[in-house]
């Protein structure tokens, strides 16, 4: 299982700050986005802007995620 932290509107829509996603070796950021929507269809509209962070760094769609990575998904940031 991959543990995925959610923040801001993504957390509100999912109704949960942390999701657990069944995970296979070799799956990527892009795969994660599909699995998130399958589990929580409400996240669909957020996907085009959704940012994925692996171990505190932003990751592009093609990056492979290990089940042991620290992963977070969230909309564009708006601090300041």
């Amino acid at each position: 299982m991959l543990r995925v932290k959610l923040f801001a509107k993504a957390r509100d829509v999912a109704g949960c700050p942390m999701l657990e996603i069944p995970w296979k070796d070799g799956q990527t950021v892009s795969d994660l986005k599909q699995l998130l929507v399958a589990q929580h269809p409400g996240l669909g509209p957020l996907i085009p802007q959704l940012l994925v962070a692996i171990n505190n760094d932003y990751a592009d769609d093609g990056v492979v995620i290990q089940a042991t990575d620290e992963v977070a998904c969230f909309p564009p940031v708006s601090g300041g």
Partner: protein, 148 residues
């Protein structure tokens, strides 16, 4: 990292920007620039009553440290201090303070503006508007799914 003196943090308490500014003053620098972001009442004709800030603390601190490293590679920065507040903020409250000292003023202005501009697009913190009609709304700048 050997980056000299700095104070970079997230807090749920009111920001003491006086202490932050004092922490970057030095007789090696002729210029200090402080930026404060404060909660503004009116945005595009709508009235805010409060903002709620949420952060992803571990990553936010990592990104702030990165920001410091990059800024130091671009300008001869003496000291840097950045504090971002999280939680419920009322009108006029300070959400973020960025202080930087440099030998000369142009460097300090450029570095200060760079730090707050980059903070706003790379550091994982989000704000939720509380409008005066009772509705709430996450502020999520639009624009592609590329890295910010």
């Amino acid at each position: 990292m050997s980056q000299g003196l700095h104070m970079i943090s997230l807090t749920h308490s009111p920001i003491d920007y006086f202490a932050l500014t004092e922490s970057v003053r030095s007789s090696q620098s002729g210029a200090v620039v402080l930026f404060l972001g404060t909660v503004r009442e009116m945005t595009d004709g709508r009235r805010t009553v409060a903002l709620d800030y949420e952060g992803y603390p571990e990553m936010a601190e990592a990104k702030l440290a990165e920001l410091e490293t990059v800024a130091r590679s671009k300008w001869p920065i003496d000291r840097i201090g950045i504090i971002h507040r999280l939680g419920r903020l009322e009108l006029g409250d300070i959400s973020v303070a960025v202080a930087v000292s440099c030998p000369h003023r142009k460097q300090a202005f450029e570095a200060g503006q760079y730090l707050i501009d980059e903070l706003k697009v790379t550091v994982p913190i989000w704000k939720q508007e509380n409008w005066d009609d009772g509705t709430t709304e996450w502020v999520h700048p639009g624009g592609g799914n590329s890295k910010p």
